[in-house]
Amino acid sequence: MKELLETILSPAFGYAILRVTTPILFAGLGAAVTELAGVINIGMEGIMLTAALAGVIVGALCESAAAGLAAAVAAGVLMALVMAYFSLNLKTDIILAGIALNLMASGGTVFLLYVVAHDKGVSSSLASPVLPQVRIPVIDQIPVLGEILSNHNVMVYVALLSVLVVSYFLYRTPYGLRLRAVGENPDAADSVGISVHQVQYVALIISGILGGFGGAHLSMGYVSWFARDMTAGRGFIGIAAQALGGQTPIGTLLASLFFGMTDALSNFMHFIGIPSEFVQMLPYLATVVALALYARRQVTRRARLARVNRPVEAGTGAAAEGD
């Protein structure tokens, strides 16, 4: 137990949490924006996977990490546009479109990899570049904090910045207000002249950009190659994180950090002789517990609201149905 505490209190553990959190956070932010616009993007997994492959292939061909990143984002947006076209123009169910996108990406990326590199599992024959690690000047000097926060892959900082940018966009810009209005009640938004179609397109494109970043981080930062199905459920965990975080960017960040922490913790717990089956269960157990706590909080809040509202309703005689 002592070793475990020592490990958790070490800066290396904090550093690991941020790195593990990053792909989940990208997926979570992307999903949050689409959820707020009423078009939940469950294709994050497929978007990230495609972006991860595009980054590796273009990065290797152009011998430039920047080109790889650009290609990853472009691929993410392209996948999001495919999804938008099917769900918004052709009116397919967005959940089904998302599932189709994920399945297509899973097989399609392996096919593309085979065409380009004659590899079916791992792109180890492509010499793909890696995005740089960044040393932050001042923070780097602070003893413990510097070790945790500095010297990460550049995408880790992009993820943290994205929280602020998405937050600003959603709550401080007119377009963000419109986006939330569309998600809240598309008919009402439509009646005041907002193009629901266009807003939802924009929301999906934003999720494509964020998913593209997430994919680039996986294949060009986290590891230095593409592997079949390398997202391994991170897109879905991201969607769970935005649900747990109540669709707010900050909430999504906190939930992602929570998932990242349990995941990082499980990596260290093997060493103190805890059975591996238990350790592997831990991140999912944490998810269930967190969701249960969240649901309980929702229920108590609703109950409190009902109590507060009742006398008013009685006084005015208004017959409020539902909430």
Partner: protein
């Protein structure tokens, strides 16, 4: 919408008819027909790729006709695929891994005129009449004994990236007997060189999540591990990335993983001291050769080890550069002792969990 769907369905149907046509056509009547069914995909850079290489070599050198079918990761398709090829005109049907045992035990007795080979596991010959099935087991414990001995020599050496701590790593895909067979040999080999050795053991729980594999390997390296052995398929490739990031050593598995990165990432390849080869290719080639001569013992399981060159350490330029003459000498001596029976390596197959736990606890860091 419905019209589109009908069109899609029609295209899909045509596609499947065409591929089925290709499967059936072009048969040469005189040649022995061999089919390799993989319950996964090629491209893993280790296990299945090695099996594929073995049957392709047999096609080229032994003049048999070979068909390789990738059944993918969907388990529900494996049994029907095996049943299908059993009704076709193949003479020899090859499958692998423990996940296929049950299906084979059911289907093989229904086709007594067919011959089957299963590798990396054995069918239960007491269950049914399985006199047409030959099982190949690998003594990965013997090869891993060498890997463990080498790891212990590296961690106690003054090699540039080795630290004074006598701590080595093991990254397993899952906590299952075949992976633990590697582990048992690895621990015993390491203890043979250095009785006080400690081994950091992690199981990722997946063979297909390299990012998680890297994360766990990083955790091991941060603890003071200076050389780690990955036995986790694609997941294990994450360890090689971690080795590069932390500038530590790694041991590859199944195929020569240093050669994998030789061209694309020579720096990484230079940290892979050697790989514990599991020569699925050699064993399948040998089996097909024996089959053609009529000498393959169907109805039995055989364990192939160092003696049959079914396992062993990879010898390449990096191995020669990184290890000293003395280390290679010691390994050769150990190998001779295993072959002569002077050293017997325990196996995880049939080992009860209390015994395995005791072995794992005996090398746990901090104990």
């Amino acid at each position: 919408m419905r019209k589109w769907f009908a069109l899609l369905a029609a295209v899909a149907l045509m596609g499947s008819v065409l591929t089925a046509g290709c499967l059936g056509g072009g048969a040469d009547e005189d040649k022995v027909k061999v089919v390799l069914l993989l319950n996964g995909n090629l491209g893993d850079k280790s296990f299945f790729d090695s099996a594929n290489a073995g049957v392709l070599r047999a096609e080229e050198e032994l003049g048999v006709e070979v068909k390789v079918i990738e059944m993918g990761l969907d388990q529900s398709k494996w049994e029907p695929a095996l049943a299908d090829v059993s009704t076709q005109d193949y003479d020899l049907i090859i499958v692998g891994t423990w996940q296929m045992t049950e299906y084979l035990e059911k289907i093989a007795p229904q086709h007594p005129d067919k011959r089957y080979i299963i590798f990396d596991t054995a069918v239960d010959y007491t269950k049914a009449d399985l006199s047409n099935v030959y099982s190949i087991l690998y003594k990965q414990n013997e090869g891993s004994f060498l890997a463990g001995a080498l790891a212990a020599m590296v961690t106690t050496s003054d090699m540039p990236l080795a630290n004074p701590e006598k701590l080595i790593g093991f990254l397993g895909g899952m906590d299952i007997p075949v992976i633990n067979d590697f582990l048992v040999g690895y621990i015993e080999g390491a203890k043979y060189i250095e009785p006080d050795i400690k081994v950091a053991i992690s199981y990722v729980g997946s063979f297909g999540d390299p990012a998680k594999g890297k994360e766990m390997a990083l955790a091991q390296y941060q603890m003071g591990v200076d050389i780690g052995f990955n036995v986790a398929g694609e997941t294990g490739l994450g360890q090689l990335d971690a080795a590069k990031e932390m500038s530590r050593y790694a041991l590859g598995v199944d195929s020569d993983q240093a050669l994998l990165f030789k061209d694309s990432d020579p720096e990484k390849a230079g940290l892979i001291v050697t790989s514990m080869l599991k020569r699925v290719d050699n064993s399948l080639y040998r089996a097909i050769d024996l089959y053609l001569k009529g000498e393959l013992p169907f109805g039995e399981a055989e364990s192939l080890g160092l003696a049959e060159e079914a396992v062993g350490l990879a010898d390449n330029e990096y191995y020669q550069q990184l290890t000293t003459e003395e280390m290679r000498q010691t390994l050769a001596e150990i190998e001779a002792k295993i072959l002569s029976g002077e050293i017997t390596v325990s196996t995880a197959f049939g080992m009860d969990s209390a015994e395995l736990d005791a072995l794992r606890n005996s090398v746990r860091p901090g104990s």
